[in-house]
Symmetry: C2
Subunit: 186 residues, 2 copies
DNA sequence: CGATACATGTAAGAAGTTACATGATTGT
DNA sequence: ACAATCATGTAACTTCTTACATGTATCG
């Protein structure tokens, strides 16, 4: 991650702050209490990440000396932050994303609707579906070529991956239908 | 990762070296050319990781001044390395592994058969199945509780995860059958 | 002669982990 | 008094990323 690039954790925070202004503590709790876990609930990751976002002008903190507890610093997204978030959400989907960064793709998808609107969400789903349709055959092809050389458990592990991607492909097709119906309904 | 602990990349390398003695270059190619990608094919990750394994006495390098190309350093697993690998393979499976480190679990599974034997592989699968059967209801429960508060895309993203885990549960049940049949066949 | 494949490494910097530090408020 | 929850942060350490450095052999 070179200077001025944002790590996945940064986008996760930016997306959540876009949904509603939050303190570092609020955000930590989301990571510990919901299935959105896996994005490090540790203060040693979150507070420095928030400070970086603030230094880049993507979020703005205001201290709420509120209701008696220790001071809270509530972060809100700035126009620049919203633009940056949308740029990330609308970015292309590559082979590598589908194969090795599915979590990040699903994180993007979860924010798309609220932050970039339904047309952008539909475009994402169609790109995701298209990429899966390219990726699945290469996986299956690899398996059929190497099946004999692999150990039983290695072969099964690959099959597990393939089944997962097939489930996701079906999901994507269904989700596309959902968004197309919503489009018509308007 | 504190001193003397091994990162996932380290175990991936250890497992591959156990399958067959390999050079750093051989290992890199596996990460670039096969669906086992996602474990950083960069020399800046692999060579330092291999040196750490060697310093810990888990692999042993021997320089092959071989066939005319630049010297190769071929690494073989040591008895200590095999013990460490088996310890990792046989470790418990927790909620957190299923929810956030599925890749690591599948990596373990891919090596289990060859490095720890079929009984250990079957035990792994049964533990994996059991943990999925605990985890899936908590996910579904979370979804039903929060469905109304979530945006459409957030809800769909969760459903995507659920479908993936259901596919994996079916896979695990099938794989258990495969290993039980092999057990009987002996 | 230049590109490509083989082959191993280092250096600077970014980001995460664990553990610690600090401090207020509420409940027991 | 003490634990738990709220709340923000830092320090040391590990690891990974990106980019560079080095060198041989083969092919067109």
């Amino acid at each position: 991650m070179s200077r001025n690039e944002i790590a996945v954790l940064g986008y996760a925070l930016l997306g959540l702050i876009q949904q509603r202004p939050s303190s570092g503590y609020d955000l930590r709790k989301i990571f510990t209490d919901t299935p959105m876990a896996g994005y490090s609930d540790s203060p040693g990751a979150i507070y420095p990440a928030l400070r970086r976002l603030e230094e880049q002008g993507l979020v703005q903190g205001s201290i709420v000396a509120g209701a008696g507890l220790r001071r809270r610093k509530v972060l809100s997204i700035t126009p620049a932050g919203l633009a940056e978030l949308r740029k990330w959400l609308a970015g292309p989907i590559g082979q590598d994303d589908v194969g090795n960064h599915l979590n990040e793709l699903m994180l993007r998808f979860a924010f798309l609707d609220g932050a970039a609107g339904e047309p952008a969400t539909l475009r994402f789903l169609q790109a995701f579906e298209a990429e899966l349709k390219l990726y699945l055959p290469t996986l299956k092809n690899f398996l059929s070529i190497h099946a004999e050389k692999l150990e039983v458990s290695g072969r099964l592990a690959l099959e597990c991956g393939i089944l997962g991607y097939e489930a996701q492909l079906q999901w994507a097709s269904r989700a596309i239908t959902v968004y197309k119906n919503r489009e018509k309904a308007q």
